[in-house]
Each structure stands twice: as structure tokens, then as C-alpha cells.
Amino acid sequence: MDNILSVLVFFPAIAGLLGFVVDKESARTYGITVAAIELFLSLWLWFSFDSANAGMQFVEMIPLIPDFGVSYYIGVDGISLFIIIMAALMTLIGMMSMSITKNIKNMIITLLFLEMTMIGVFVALDAIIFYLFWELSLVPMLYIIGAWGGPLRVYASIKFFLYTFAGSLIMLVGMLFMAYVYHNLTGVWSFAITDWYALVLPVDYQLWLFAAFFFGFAIKVPMFPFHTWLPYAHGQAPTIGSVILAAVLLKMGTYGFVRFSLPMFPDASVMMITPIAVISIIMIIYTAMVAYAQKDIKQVIAYSSVSHMGIIMLGIFAMNAEGISGSVFQMLSHGIVSGALFMLVGVIYDRRHTKLMSEFGGLASVMPKYAVIFGIMLMAAVGLPLTIGFVGEFLVLLGFYQVSPIMTILAGTSIIIGAIYMLAVYKKSFFGPVTNEANKTLKDLDAKETWSLVPLVLIVIWLGIYPKPVLEPIDNSVKAMLVFMDEKAITKEAKDMIKVAKSSQGGV
């Protein structure tokens, strides 16, 4: 099946359209079935994917607006492959664990459309198609937060939408300028990313364009100081919204850096290493401290998300194979772990309708299964060895060590601070005597919740022990990208930086 990517993109959308006809009572089963088929298709993609090939595979190209250089151009490589699978997986698991009953049909349809946009972003190889899915993903999320969220939901959803929208419009100007430069040099209009890769731009152009793309991506990541929309969005979103937001939507930003900024502007990227590393370290440490100060479990996880996204950013700008592969791996691990944590918070919220830590205590004795799974996920979030969180974090730090040992040490404190606030959450909510009467009668995980969480636990441990099947394709594509960047870089510093990386390759 050569056109499996198109199927992956449009299957959920068609299913969403047909979903309008499905009866309300059956909508949930319908959604889960569709998401399961989608996951199956994405796994099929993985099996038919050639791991040895570092380039784009399953490429499809249909010219849409040839006069303007826009075409339906999609493909997948090792970097995007696993993010696609993760998006399909988290949509399925999110739907399975969903406890919402109000307007369930609308929710299912919205989620299916959201799935289309998410997969579309990661397979797009044409900047306009990328932008199209990127912007379109805001609309379902706006609806999910706004319709099923907490008391401040409207404010949170609009803030989410406008922040991202404003940033991406600046990115759009960057894209248009890029197309213009391409047109000037070649006489042809093209928005294909692979065509743009071939351009060697003067450094000042690179810097301006890097800045334009940076706005779009940094707001999405979200990087300090553009992160303020995220705690609101998480705080107000329903569980499913938080799961998808943390697991997949945030990854769009970091993916954008890997797909656009690095290969297109290698010199600018190397020049920006220090500023971005500083911002990332501020993100890592500052938001970890803010997380510690939170009273609400969900807010702790929301801020810890920002902190982990800082690690991912740091890895991307390490400019070497360990760092970038580690970052991509960390995107997956953060997606699964934070998604699971948000689901776990959702579980307790459904039972008690509060997320405040002070309301809990001693849950371990009342809900043992819940406590075990929460504990495993928490450890994975902290980056305990033999969990999925360790692999990515370790590789990122290893990679960045070659750039700057001091900054790496600073970033490494994130593991310590992370352990502090995560364990504090665990201690306050799960250990000690059950002080609150309402907690004594809490039910442990039911079958639905267990079955949606256990697969995630298995993945966390499997990839923590044996990450190779995932890491290898990622590493191949990343290395190919680095070789390409090295050839393309024009300043000496950039060449050195990327060369250093190449000579020290190997370990993974």
C-alpha cells in the first residue's frame, strides 16, 4: 500500500464525517473502533517502513496549485514515523479511558478530526499543507477545551487559539518569504520542504527566517516566556483534551524545529544554540520550581510538561546525533508518560471532582492498583533508569555535554528537581493515613481504566529496557539530516559544530 499515508490522514476525517450519522449511544464504540483501525494502520506503516532507509518514504505528490507552487506532498521518515504512531495510540487510549458522557458524539467526531490534523502535520512535506493542518488542529482543540472544560474554559480556549494563531501567522510570512527566495533563485514557485532544503541561504536571511519560524514553533512548544497559555489550557481542559494536548500537539512545535529550522537554516541554528539553550534551561529549572509550588496535581503535571519540553529543545539544539535522536525519543516518551499522567489525574478527578493535593492522602491503601501505575508513570517522568523517560533524557544530556558541560549540569538538575516535585506529589497524595473521609470509599481502577493504562505501562517499561527498534530508525534519519546540514552550512562555526557531532557519533 503505497498511499498508506493518505489513508492514515483521511481515514479519521471520513470516519468523522460519517460519524454524524452514527447513533449517540453507539458513538463511543464507533470512535474507539475507528481509532483502533487507525492505530493498526499506523503499525502497518511501521512494519512496511524500511528502517535502513534514512530518507523520505511513502512519498505522495499531487500538484494542487501549480502556479503558486502548492502541492499535496507527504512522506514519512524515521523522525516522524513514531510520532505518528504515538498520535494514533494516544487518541485510541484517550478515547478508551474517556469518562465524558455529555455530548459524547460531538466529542468523538471532534477527536477524529483532530486526529486527521495531527497526523497531517507530521506527514506534510509541503509548507502550505503543513500550515494547513497546523492551523486546523487549533479548531477541534478550541472546541474540546471550550465545550467540556472547567469554569474558565472559554478564556482558556481563546487564549490557546489566539496565542498559537498569532505565532503561526508570523511563521506564515516566513514561509512566504522562503518561497519568494526560492522563486528568485530557481524561477519556480515551490513550497515543498525538500526543495527548500536545497537552498543555501546567506546568514542574515537565515537569521530572519529562523526568527519567523521560531515564533510559530516556540509558542506551540511552548517555550519560556510564551508558555503562559499552557497552564490555563491544561487547567481548564477535560482529561482527554489535556492528554492529546500534552502528548501530541506540543510535539508539533519541537517537530517543526527538527523538520524546518535545523535543515533549512543550519548556520542560524548553530548561532542560536546559546540563546535557545539559555531559554531552555530557564524553562527547565523555572517551571520545575513553579511545578513544585502548585497545589493542584494537574497543574504540577502541566508545568512539568513545560520543563520536559525544555529538555527536548535542549537536545534539538545540541546539533549532534545523540542530542537530536534523544530529543525525538523524548518527544515520544513525554507524549506517553504525560498523557498517562493526565489520564491518571482524570481518574481521581472523576471520583472526587477535585485535583487538589490537600484533599488526598493515603490513596495507596485505598487504591493500590492506581497507586502502582501512578508510581511507575511518575518514575518515568522523573527519568528513572529502565523507564522510557531515562533513555531520552540521558541521550539529550549526553549530546548537549559536547556543546557545553556547564549548561548540561544545570539542565541535569531537572532530574533532581523533577524528582523532588513528583515525589512530593506522590507523598502528599498516596502515602500517610487516609485523613479525608471521602477518600475512604474510593473505588480502585475499573476494567476500562486499567485496560487503557496497562498498555502504556508496558510501553514505558519495554522501551525503557530495549529502545533499539524505535531508536534505530530515528537515529538513521537524524544522522542523514546532520550530514546534510554539514554539507550545507556555510559558516565555519557551523561546520565545526556539526562536524564535532559527526566525529563523536556511534554510541547509540
Partner: protein, 496 residues
């Protein structure tokens, strides 16, 4: 003794007049029908009007590019053909909106339809000439008919709107006349191609710049009124509010296309002559218009007024493309309006289906945001469609206006105005807020009043129009390519 002038019929090239004459004859036919029988239903007039417009469309499509006719005052070039086609298509979408399920009395007068056709003829004259006098005649024919159409809506604020529009229109006409007079004084001609030739030879004379400045400013003021550019936009929201919703939507598109074509001819000439500050002035006006109208739209409590300000802002957007004076910029103007037309008319039509005889929600406004609260529960399909229109207006891909927006922005980038593209981008972000506000009301709030108040006016023809507008909005990605290549071809063929 005056010599008798011999004119051969062939040199008149009367075929260039055919489209306008068809519209005028059609209007007369409708009046004659009314003489013969008084009790004819509006549906007859609506269908007749559509048929006449279809013939008009065919006649326009059949014209040859780059011809002159009728003592060389008619100019049939690429932009005149595409603008006439767009005017006719816009009118064909508009006129079935008269077939509401409730009776609105303006449509029971055949005069409404006759005036409507005369107005179209006026617009066609405006765009199909480069003679300032004929442009003026066309402009006045169209405007006077339009004032009457607004007033026919027969409510206190419709009269207010008509009178306001009339006064402003008269002022604009005066500016136009004075501007033309100055141009004539400078060059001894009112034909723009001759004006350009003479002006080009006189550009280096000392002291002439002030006169050129004067003529350009007077003309710019006249067209700023017509295009509702800041600071001459103040009439627009009141007039849109007073006019019936479909007419307001119509006014935000069709008359502006006509005015833009004339602006392209006049100000394009100034920019081509190297009078750089005309470009600067237009750019400043455009940026101010899009920004201030956006900010005003943020605080509106009425959806129709919001849409009025939003269309002012869109006009500013397009005005910026005019200042670029490149083939791409000009293509962008037409592309933008071709796409904007469907979406905006669709959005106004959605307001139209919810229009009441009396105001049930608010003493002051017909369409306060509260009216649309919980629309998704009352009329799910309607809410989704309105939501699509709003997203399209906000410039969310892949809906129609997005493609217009990126084309304008690309044209700006190509001419080296990157700051302009960024300003446009930021303005789109501001604009997203007020479009979202309506979406939030429709999707995220609970209804405040009983159910029938929303789709009060719905009828099959209205559904058909809205459905068509929706298809055009959603499916834009599939017809952009032929549209762009056709527009680009026609525009470059006529040398803009």
C-alpha cells in the same frame, strides 16, 4: 460652420456596450411586466433577474480582450471583463435571498429588481471605461440606485442609512468631480491613457507636483469614501446596519469590486508615473484601515456591525495589494474578492435567516451575539456552517479567504514589503478574536431564548444559496488553481 462628422457603425464597436444594455433592457422588461399585470409574485421577478444576469454573464464572457468601442470611451480589457463577471456572479448569488419565507415588503415591488439591474449596469459602465466622465456617470447611476434599494427596506434606520450613504456619496462624487477637473486642467484630457501620456511629459516641470498632488488626493478621498477606507469609513457600519442583511453583504463586495477597478486604473497610473508618495499614502491608509477597523470590530455587540467592521478591515487588506501595483498584487485583489464574496455573502445570509420583524433580543440591535448563543443545540448544521464562514474570514486554512490572504501576503513579500506582510499577519490574528467570539457564542454557550427565533426566515432558496456559499468556502483548494491562472492571464493581458 461645423463639419458633419462621419462615424461608421463598425468603428463604434457597439458589442462592447452589450452587457450593460442587457441589464438595462432587463430592468425595463420588469417594469413593463408590472404595467401589464400588478399581482405578480416576487419569485417571478427573482427568476427573471437571474435569467437576465445569466445572459449578461454570457455576453460579458464573449467579449474580446483589449478592445475599445463607442468613441473609444469603452475599454474592454482583462480587468474589466473579470470584474464584470464577478459583479454578475455576486448579484446572482444575492438576488435569490429575496425569497425568504417571511414577507419583506421591498421585494414585492418590481422596482426593486429594476433598480437592481440598473445598478449593475452602472457598475459595469464604471469598470468598462477609462474615461473619467463615463466612470462618473456609471458611479452615480449605481450609487443612486443603491441608495434607493437601501431605503426600500422600510425601517427607521434604513432611511437613516440611505440618507447617510447618500450624503456621503454626494460628497465623494463632489471630490471625484473636482479631482477629474484638476486632471483635465493638467492634461487637457479625461481619458486616462492620454492623461498618463501628457502627465509623463510634464512631470519635470517646476511646480507641477502640487497640482498632481491635488488631483491624486481629491480622487483618493472620493474612492476612500466608496471603499470605506479610514478615515472615511464612518458611514459603513451604520449603513450596513440599516440595510437588510443580504444587501449589506452585497455592498461589502460588489460595489467595492467596481470601485477597486477604477482605483487600479487611476492610482495605478500615478504609481506607474513614479509618483511614489501616492503609493505611500495608499499604504498608510490601508494599514490604518485594517488595524483600526479590526480594533473597532473587537468591541461591537452586534454581529452585523462586527461583520461591517470586518469587511472594512478586509478592504484595507486589499487596498494594500493595490499599492503594490504589480501583476500579482492586482491578481490578489480579484482573487481575494472572488473568494471573500462567497464567504461574506454566506455569513450575511446566515444573519438574514434569523432576521425578525421586531427585535426580540435587544432594543438596539437586530443581531446581538446573545441571539446566537447555543446555536449548535438549535440548528447544528447552521452553526457549523456559520462557524466555517467565521473561520474562513479569520483566514484559517484551507477555507477560501485563507488563499486570498496568502496570495496578498505573497504579493507583498515579492515586492519587498515584508513589514506589510507581517502587519497583515498580526491583523489577521487580531481579527481572529472577534470571529472566534461568535464561534464561542454559537458552540460553547447555552441558548437564551426560545428556539424558533433563529431560523425564522429560512426557506429552500436561502438554503440553496447558503449551501453553495459553503461549498465554495470549503472546497476552495480545488478551484484555486484555475481561478488564479485565469485571473492572472486576464490581468497580465491587459498590462496591469
Amino acid at each position: 460652420m461645423l463639419q458633419p462628422i462621419n462615424v461608421s457603425l463598425e468603428s463604434l464597436n457597439l458589442i462592447t456596450l452589450a452587457p450593460m444594455l442587457i441589464a438595462i433592457a432587463g430592468g425595463l422588461v420588469i417594469l413593463v411586466l408590472d404595467l401589464i399585470s400588478e399581482k405578480l409574485h416576487k419569485s417571478l421577478y427573482v427568476m427573471l433577474t437571474i435569467l437576465i444576469l445569466v445572459i449578461d454573464f454570457g455576453a460579458t464572457l464573449g467579449l474580446n480582450v483589449n478592445e475599445r468601442g463607442f468613441f473609444d470611451v469603452m475599454l474592454i480589457d482583462g480587468i474589466s471583463i473579470i470584474s464584470q463577471l464577478m459583479i454578475i456572479v455576486g448579484s446572482i448569488i444575492f438576488i435569490p435571498l429575496a425569497l425568504t419565507s417571511k414577507r419583506f415588503h421591498e421585494y414585492s415591488y418590481p422596482e426593486f429588481f429594476a433598480l437592481f439591474l440598473f445598478m449593475i449596469a452602472g457598475f459595469q459602465f464604471m469598470v468598462a471605461s477609462d474615461n473619467l466622465i463615463l466612470i462618473f456617470v456609471g458611479l452615480e447611476t449605481a450609487s443612486l440606485s443603491l441608495y434607493t434599494l437601501i431605503a426600500l427596506h422600510n425601517r427607521a434606520n434604513s432611511y437613516e442609512a440611505a440618507v447617510k450613504y447618500f450624503t456621503m456619496g454626494a460628497l465623494a462624487a463632489a471630490f471625484f468631480a473636482m479631482g477629474s477637473a484638476v486632471v483635465y486642467a493638467l492634461t487637457g484630457s479625461v481619458e486616462l491613457y492620454k492623461v498618463a501620456e501628457v502627465m509623463a511629459t510634464r512631470l519635470n516641470e517646476t511646480g507641477i507636483m502640487i497640482a498632481i498632488f491635488g488631483s491624486a488626493v481629491l480622487l483618493l478621498v472620493a474612492f476612500s469614501f466608496k471603499l470605506s477606507l479610514f478615515p472615511f469609513h464612518t458611514w459603513a457600519p451604520d449603513v450596513y446596519e440599516g440595510a437588510s442583511a443580504p444587501l449589506a453583504g452585497y455592498m461589502s463586495v460588489v460595489p467595492k469590486i467596481a470601485a477597486f477597478v477604477v482605483s487600479i486604473r487611476i492610482f495605478g497610473m500615478y504609481i506607474d508615473l513614479g509618483v511614489e508618495w501616492v503609493r505611500v499614502t495608499i499604504l498608510v491608509l490601508a494599514v490604518l484601515t485594517m488595524t483600526l477597523a479590526n480594533i473597532m470590530a473587537l468591541v461591537q455587540e452586534d454581529v452585523k456591525r462586527m461583520l461591517a467592521y470586518s469587511s472594512i478591515s478586509h478592504a484595507g487588506f486589499i487596498m494594500a495589494a493595490l499599492a503594490l501595483d504589480t501583476t500579482e498584487g492586482t491578481t490578489a485583489i480579484f482573487l481575494y474578492y472572488a473568494l471573500f464574496m462567497f464567504t461574506n455573502l454566506g455569513a450575511f445570509a446566515m444573519l438574514w435567516i434569523s432576521r425578525h420583524k421586531n427585535r426580540r433580543f435587544d432594543k438596539r440591535f437586530d443581531h446581538p451575539y446573545e441571539k446566537f448563543a447555543g446555536f449548535i443545540h438549535i440548528m447544528p448544521v447552521g452553526a457549523v456552517i456559520m462557524g466555517l464562514f467565521m473561520l474562513s474570514l479569520a483566514g484559517v486554512p484551507p477555507f477560501s479567504v485563507f488563499w486570498g490572504k496568502i496570495y496578498v501576503m505573497q504579493a507583498a513579500v515579492n515586492s519587498g514589503y515584508i513589514w506589510l506582510a507581517i502587519v497583515m499577519g498580526l491583523n489577521s490574528a487580531i481579527a481572529a478574536y472577534y470571529y472566534l467570539k461568535l464561534i464561542v457564542y454559537m458552540f460553547l454557550m447555552d441558548p437564551v431564548k426560545d428556539v424558533d427565533t433563529i431560523y425564522y426566515n429560512l426557506s429552500k432558496p436561502l438554503m440553496a444559496v447558503i449551501g453553495m456559499a459553503t461549498l465554495a468556502t470549503v472546497g476552495a483548494i480545488f478551484y484555486i488553481q484555475p481561478l488564479i491562472s485565469y485571473l492572472y492571464y486576464m490581468i497580465s493581458a491587459s498590462g496591469y
